[in-house]
């Protein structure tokens, strides 16, 4: 199992596993390896320290301590094992059944668990021992059963989560019995936290067992047990203090090993801790300038030669250039993994930790964004360039009302405004996005809003800084189609009214046709075509653009086969040399193996292809 491999791979985990394995094996084989019988007395050497004959010394009757520790361990570990078995069986069964079945069974299990957790375990154990004198098994199984309430809760919570997964529904549809679904799909998913809890509980069960022995409530002398050995050692603490070292030491070391192992297991199954902590310096995005084309001065946002790499060197975006003019909308189109979101994130400098940006030019309203530091960029974000995300509800803070969040945004952009001014501005913003009853909406929390309303609030927040460019990353993908139409209407209206430019990241050709003026098509981190929206639909020049348009069922004759591309978009780090689309292209030739630059056509646009389609000029092939 993966968790065990991960644990064995960590030095601390390996040491603990080795110690526990050694102790368990040695105690199990005590009959074979113990040098003496545990009751064998040698009255000529009592209370001896470690000697060649007795490695760990002898007690008051001259009995060999090593042999007694090994034999005692057999008793102690056996009852700890019984406690764990009770813990595991009861906790997993109750938790899985409660979580999977829910309803009455769930409530009963939870209440019983509350009861078990609220009872003082020691008192219960004493009662059990009063009924079954010196029966450690009974006491330890009780302990395991009482502790199982905690495990049942953990297992139940994981089960409730797994139960809703479609793969469990698929298993039910496949006709698997509940028992097999639990065993195959639910239990393996909750096993991670379970084994780490078991290790932790094993440690504390061992200590309880030792305490019972120490108090004389467990196995009776002369039978050895670890707790009993500690009790015997404590009686001779002034005569031979050494006695406490082997008896106490083995209990302490074993308990610590269990606890550490539990921690290591938890870390191994929780992948967050496997990442290196990042320093602030490494979190920051590195920006370097390189030579390239000059920017378009008429554009409000002009990007040249923009590349993005991750900290590990994987290129995500490669040499992207585009211009957005005031009052127009640019559609950034392509399939997932083509670098659309990374491109806009690089402009806003909101990239994963350690990312590297290289560009010749990122110019916004005459301002050179490449030369700005983090502080300067934070003024541009929201102020000059607004941003709205795909999931509108998730992009709002669930702890604050709409009013709070808009007030914060307005204050950020209007330092020194009075309360009344801020409030008036917030109401204006909500009216601008056509939300009815602004004061009512201001009092609501994000979860009380529908998807469409939440997206309007997100747009209102983005408008607080009166941005000259609004970047919308798949703003309608999560919305219903009628709501999508309203949001697109709103964006179009805001663009026309304020002269704000729009950048729409989308995979939906319908959205491009509806709202955009220019289209920038991306494939494998590169721009492959850039042209007006009319031209992109009428006469796409790049074969990828053409194929992506053809794959849209809107454009197809119903009932016919859709034209398809072989293969799939190559992942970052696996981009082919030369034309990146060539391996999937029906028109590829040997010429496509070399680097392909963008070809500009005056007044029409540009494309990155050796064999452009629908052309009247160079190299057109039909």
């Amino acid at each position: 199992m993966n968790a065990w491999r991960a644990v064995a791979g960590r030095p601390l985990g390996a040491i603990c596993l080795a110690w526990l394995g050694l102790v368990v094996l040695a105690c199990a084989g005590a009959d074979l390896i113990a040098p003496h019988h545990p009751q064998e007395q040698d009255l000529s050497s009592v209370y001896s320290g470690p000697t060649w004959a007795h490695w760990l010394g002898t007690d008051q009757l001259g009995r060999d301590i090593l042999s007694r520790v090994l034999h005692g361990g057999r008793v102690s570990l056996l009852v700890v094992g019984q406690a764990l078995a009770a813990y595991l069986v009861l906790g997993c069964a109750a938790g899985v059944l409660a979580g999977y079945r829910r309803g009455l069974l769930d409530r009963v299990v939870l209440r019983l668990g509350d009861l078990a957790l609220s009872m003082p375990a020691v008192v219960i154990l004493l009662v059990v021992l009063a009924i079954f004198p010196h029966d450690e098994s009974a006491a330890m199984i009780t302990l395991g059963a009482l502790s199982a309430a905690g495990l049942a809760r953990v297992v139940r919570a994981s089960t409730v989560a797994v139960r809703e997964e479609p793969f469990v529904a698929a298993a039910r549809v496949a006709g698997l019995s509940t028992f097999r679904i639990l065993g195959r799909h639910v239990l393996p998913s909750v096993i991670g936290p379970v084994i780490s809890l078991v290790a932790l509980v094993a440690g504390s069960a061992l200590l309880v067992e030792a305490s019972l022995g120490f108090l004389g409530l467990g196995v009776q002398p002369p039978e050895p047990s670890w707790g009993g050995l500690i009790a015997e050692a404590s009686q001779a603490i002034y005569r031979q203090p050494w006695l406490l070292v082997p008896s106490g030491g083995v209990v302490a070391l074993t308990a610590v090993a269990c606890a550490v192992l539990g921690d290591v297991l938890r870390d191994a199954t929780d992948d967050r801790t496997s990442r290196e902590p990042l320093s602030w310096r490494r979190m920051r995005t590195q920006v370097t300038r390189r030579p390239g084309e000059p920017p378009d001065e008429a554009a409000v946002l002009s990007v040249r030669g923009l590349s993005v790499r991750l900290a590990d060197g994987t290129a995500l975006v490669d040499d992207v250039a585009f211009d957005v003019h005031p009052g127009t909308a640019l559609g950034l189109v392509g399939e997932s993994g083509c670098g659309k979101t990374m491109t806009v994130s690089a402009v806003l400098r909101l990239l994963p930790p350690g990312a590297v940006v290289e560009a010749a030019e990122v110019r916004f309203a005459g301002q050179d964004l490449l030369s700005l530091d983090e502080r300067g960029m934070s003024r541009v974000r929201g102020g000059g360039i607004g941003y709205i995300a795909q999931d509108p509800v998730a992009s709002l803070d669930p702890l604050f009302t709409v009013g709070d969040q808009l007030t914060e945004a307005v204050r950020h952009h209007n330092r020194g405004a009075t309360r009344a001014e801020v409030r008036r501005r917030v109401v204006d913003l909500l009216e601008a996005v056509h939300l009815p009853d602004p004061p009512g909406v201001m009092a609501e929390y994000p979860h009380q809003l529908s998807g469409g309303m939440a997206q309007r609030v997100a747009i209102a927040r983005a408008l607080a800084g009166e941005p000259r460019v609004l970047i919308a990353d798949e703003p309608t993908t999560a919305l219903d189609v009628t709501v999508q139409a309203e949001i697109l209407d709103l964006l179009r209206e805001l663009r026309d009214r304020t002269g704000m430019a729009l950048i729409l990241v989308t995979h939906d050709w319908g959205v491009v046709a509806d709202t955009c003026d220019t289209a920038v098509v991306m494939y494998a981190g590169q721009v492959v075509e850039q042209t007006s929206v009319q031209r992109v639909f009428e006469a796409p020049r790049h074969p990828y653009t053409e194929a992506l348009l053809a794959a849209d069922p809107n454009a197809a004759v119903p009932g016919t086969r859709l034209p398809v591309l072989p293969g799939s978009v190559p992942a970052p780090g696996h981009w082919p040399d030369g034309c990146r689309f060539a391996p999937r292209c029906a028109f590829a030739t040997a010429e496509c193996a070399g680097p392909v630059a963008m070809t500009a056509e005056p007044m029409r646009g540009s494309y990155r292809c050796v064999h452009p389609r629908h052309g009247t000029t160079t190299g057109a092939r039909r």
């Binding site: 698929a170 549809v173 006709g175 019995s177 086969r561």
Partner: protein, 264 residues
């Protein structure tokens, strides 16, 4: 001809909330019925009711004339060979801890010899266009499109008559979606499969379905042949849905937008 799936006056409640009320529809053998609606329309609930994943409070569901509304676990299991499902999110449709081979073989009867199971899984993976070696790998190693093909393979293993596709292509990129739609059309022709195709995307329904049922807030507002409903929608809601979906043609879309505004 008796329909393969016949749903009559179905009602499903979640507590006090009515998720479906008085829904009737039928799917004939070899037919594809598109079930269209927006979020909260109850389209996913309908699919779950047919699969026995949610309890039905009123009405009945018949498969091949036999009532399957409230089956016990055993009878439901026997039915799994005839109704299967493909879900929207291919990543969560697979247990990340089990190999593709184990997942696809899950619907085989218990005690199928190992060699036979391997051969049948391999043949089915071949059919949906996934490499046979995939059987030894885990779901995390595949793209969404590949996993959706594998989900179709898993659903087809017991050779079902009816496949319920719950937004089965909605999470896929356009070019991948085209592949999967073609695959579904081919499988329908080869095996005489029927589909109950649940989606919010009218373009996909128009491409694949014979009939369409439009749901709104748990009720059927319109149903009919897909061409008729798309060309001459009678219910205002259907008209609004059709008008709201943007088409990939700037000129036509500008015209539609004007029409939609006039409609509102």
């Amino acid at each position: 001809m008796r329909p393969l799936l016949d749903i009559a006056n179905l009602e499903v409640r979640y507590g006090d909330a009515l998720a479906l009320s008085d829904v009737s529809l039928s799917v004939r053998s070899g037919q594809t019925v598109g079930l269209v609606g927006e979020s909260g329309s109850g389209k996913t609930t309908l699919g779950k009711a047919v699969l026995g994943l949610v309890p039905v409070s009123q009405g009945e569901i018949r498969l091949d004339g036999k009532e399957i509304t409230d089956l016990g676990v055993k009878e439901r299991r026997a039915l799994s060979g005839r109704i299967q499902v493909v879900f929207q999110n291919p990543y969560s449709s697979f247990n990340p801890r089990r190999t593709i081979g184990q997942a696809v073989a899950e619907t085989l009867p218990k005690g199928t010899p190992r060699d036979e199971a391997r051969e049948r899984v391999g043949a089915m993976l071949d059919r949906v266009g996934v490499d046979r070696d995939a059987a030894h790998r885990y779901p995390g190693q595949f793209s969404g499109g590949q996993l959706q093909r594998i989900a179709i393979a898993r659903a087809l293993m017991p050779d079902p008559r009816l496949l319920i596709c719950d937004e089965a292509v909605s999470a896929l990129d356009l070019s991948v979606q085209a592949h999967v739609l073609n695959l579904l059309a081919d499988l329908r022709a080869e095996r005489g499969l029927s589909y109950l195709f649940i989606t919010h995307d009218l373009a996909v329904v128009r491409h694949l379905a014979d009939r369409v049922v439009v749901l709104r807030r748990g009720e059927v507002v319109e149903s009919g042949r897909v061409d008729d409903v798309c060309e001459t929608p009678r219910h205002p809601y259907t008209r609004a849905l059709l008008a709201a979906a943007p088409v990939p043609d700037p000129v036509a879309q500008a015209r539609r937008r004007a029409e939609r505004r006039a409609l509102a």
